[in-house]
């Protein structure tokens, strides 16, 4: 998806919703995901003593790191450079893309392998490199699948969770020129992808990966994967590039460990991922393998603005996707409906901050304030509050429909005049009650078409409580 389509995508959220709810099979699969992911996360959290205490601790780590970001970032850069890394700062997406392209061109790179990174999705790095004539292969299995299918991630941890086993089988049969074969079941399909990817790993000139935490005290970068593809991207090619953002910085290795314990349990319900790696820098004298040259590109892309805003808590996010897995909106419509790089509750907060509220104000409205996301967020981000604050910004910027804004003003004005409110409802409700007395509800009702599109409108019993209630009832009964 290009930036332009994405922009349109966010604007088109409501029509995307309608379309995605019609995909019967996908709706069923998403419902299964909504059942299964919370189950495995809950089991992992229950098995782990002191999850809540650790959660509070990680929140403090993240807040402390952000409060002292300049200090820890400088320390990280210093240490990383001491370890032999080249460190670059990128103000925005295009700057990151240019830096990465320059590095690749300096090394006459033709073939590039890539680990999973939402940051490079954010900057649209891949098409940028491809336009310059390079072959870029995604090596995370999920990313590889959607790259072959020409799609974008529907989930920040499991990018291809929207695809069925059959779809992936068809895709592999079509894309891999390996002749006649059965390709039955996930195991065979994984084996095939492994064989195909192995060739790319061995031939690559440059490897690009992301980062889950940047450790200030050592200048190391932590990466978690379940497939080990990150390590191959980092160690096999001559040049390694880490594309990440400045808000990944934590002070110490032990802080990264605390974060890791929450991240993996929250994301996949595992106690730990299969691979957790710490990248120090280029191959040292005496090392038998590893990259000759390593680069770390630190992207800002409005994160400094977010840090200085009332939405700073969003930078505590550790990208576990628990909020997606527990959000009934995300489960209902899937990631693509959001039309943005990041989706679900965290995406609905981040997208307006990374792009603009004008083009993505539908997203903060895709929330029932059910609070399940905040309940499971390992970084204790008050997501429903941030989404409501974005709706407040939307209201103040007059981006919401005029009839809504005006309607709310009139509604609030009437509610602030109790006498008038009680008199008018005492007139209206009995009439409505009388009209609905037989059926008990209305198929349609003036000013309630959003409601009655999907359900009947229950009729009132008749006279309002305030109309019926006699404050001196007790005394009367006592007397009687």
């Amino acid at each position: 998806m290009t930036a332009v389509e994405e922009e349109l995508g966010s604007r088109a959220f409501k029509s995307n919703v309608r379309a995605s709810l019609k995909e019967t099979e996908k709706v069923k699969r998403r419902d299964m995901l909504g059942l299964f992911m919370p189950m495995i996360r809950d089991a992992a959290v229950k098995d782990f003593d002191g999850f809540e205490e650790l959660r509070q601790h990680v929140k403090q780590i993240k807040q402390h790191s952000l409060d002292n970001l300049h200090h820890y970032l400088s320390q990280f850069v210093q240490e990383a450079q001491n370890n032999g890394n080249h460190v670059h700062f990128a103000q925005d997406s295009s700057e990151m893309n240019s830096i990465v392209l320059d590095i690749c061109q300096q090394h006459d790179a033709r073939r590039i392998i890539k680990g999973k990174s939402m940051v490079t999705e954010e900057t649209h790095l891949l098409p940028h490199l491809e336009k310059a004539g390079m072959q870029v292969i995604e090596t995370d299995l999920g990313e590889y699948i959607i790259q072959q299918a020409g799609e974008t991630p529907s989930h920040i941890v499991g990018p291809a969770l929207h695809k069925s086993v059959d779809e992936i089988r068809e895709l592999f049969l079509q894309k891999h020129a390996l002749g006649e074969r059965e390709l039955q079941g996930p195991a065979e399909m994984v084996a095939e992808a492994r064989t195909v990817l192995r060739e790319h790993f061995l031939k690559a000139d440059v490897g690009i990966i992301g980062s889950n935490a940047l450790i200030a005290e050592s200048g190391y970068s932590m990466l978690v994967t379940n497939e080990g593809n990150g390590d191959l991207c980092a160690n096999l090619p001559r040049v390694m590039i880490i594309c990440t953002t400045m808000d990944r910085v934590v002070p110490r290795a032990k802080d990264a460990m605390s974060l890791l314990r929450l991240l993996v349990r929250s994301a996949t319900g595992q106690p730990v991922t299969c691979y957790t790696s710490f990248y120090t820098g280029p191959r040292r004298e005496g090392d038998t393998d590893g990259p000759i040259e390593t680069h770390i590109v630190l992207l800002d892309n409005k994160r400094s603005d977010i840090l200085a805003s009332d939405y700073r808590e969003m930078l505590q996010c550790i990208r576990c996707a628990a909020c997606l897995n527990h959000c009934p909106i995300y489960i209902g419509v899937g990631g693509h409906a959001y039309g943005s790089v990041y989706m679900g509750p965290m995406g609905s907060v981040l997208t307006p901050l990374l792009t603009s509220l004008e083009e993505s104000n539908a997203l903060p409205n895709a929330c029932t304030a059910c609070g399940r996301c905040a309940e499971v967020c390992p970084a204790s981000i008050p997501l429903p509050d941030l989404l409501r604050d974005l709706r407040h910004d939307e209201t103040r910027a007059k981006l919401s429909p005029t009839r809504w804004r005006l309607g709310m003003k009139i509604h609030a004005w009437l509610l602030c005049h109790p006498w008038l409110y009680h008199k008018s409802t005492a007139l209206g409700m009995p009439v409505l009650g009388w009209l609905g007395r037989k059926k008990g509800s209305f198929k349609s009702l003036l000013l309630a078409n959003g409601w009655t599109d999907e359900r009947d409108f229950p009729a009132p019993q008749g006279r309002t409580f305030m109309q019926q209630y006699q404050p001196d009832r007790d005394e009367n009964n006592d007397a009687g």
Binding site: V17, L21, V27, G34, L35, P328, G332, V333, N365, C367, T368, A369, G371, R372, A374, D385, R388, D389, L390, R391, H392, T395, S400, W404, R405, M408, K409, H411, A412, W413, L415, C416, P418, H422, T425, M429, R437, K438, K439, G440, S441, K443, A448, G450, W451, D453, E454, R455, D456, F457, P458, P460, Q461, T464, F465, M466, Q468, P471, R473, N477
Partner: protein, 266 residues
Amino acid sequence: MDIQAGNQHSNQATPRFQVALYVTCLVDLFRPSVAFDSIQLLEQAGCKVTVPNLQTCCGQPTYNTGDYESTIPLARQVIAAFEFADYVVVPSGSCAGMICHHYPKLLQDEWHDRALALAAKTFELTTFLADIAKIERAPGQVRQLPTVTYHDSCAGLRELGVKDQPRALLKDLCDLEVSELSQTEVCCGFGGTFCAKMPELSGKMVGDKLDSALATEATILAGGDMGCLMNIAGRAKRLGKVIEVRHIAELLADDLDGPAIGEGKS
């Protein structure tokens, strides 16, 4: 409605609690019987109940839409009308959550302190009955109830921890075990103005909730929030599915003879 039992109880001794009832706009307008049931239950639990008449709505619709400016005077109006009380009891988790959690966030300075003071003495109905007043017996007769399932409203559940209280009350007062919904902690898709802003999505969510309710084969779906209950009842009615949707106060107060939410009198 039999209000005699409650009054007899409160006549016996000085009331143990002075309670101001926050009726909520949906109960006031759509289902006044829930407020009468609540009064009966509170009186049975030894409370003296007053109903301040300067109450309208807690302001959730404007607040959740993002119109904080219009919500502030409403919040102040509620605080001014209820801060005299020893306890404020609300037959709705989301309205109680609004008072307890969101008024203090919304208001500054002196009003912030007054909001906190009100929050400290405001309780959702089943929480107050079970944990504070510790009601021991039902105000009305206890009859054999049909199978009941329970919808946990999100705000009550997550903002106020309302989970065991309604189930304990149904058990202790009505000798009833709840047939639990699958995914009972998932939202029903009401979400205040959300259901009108994003009807298809809301329709999908309430459809799922209704399916879970029907799968329990319960005769009654009870809950503590009129918004959710009207949403679920309206969906059942639209699809012609038969399940009685009622506020938990109706079950506890044995007020089951009138039509359920969304049902007609015939």
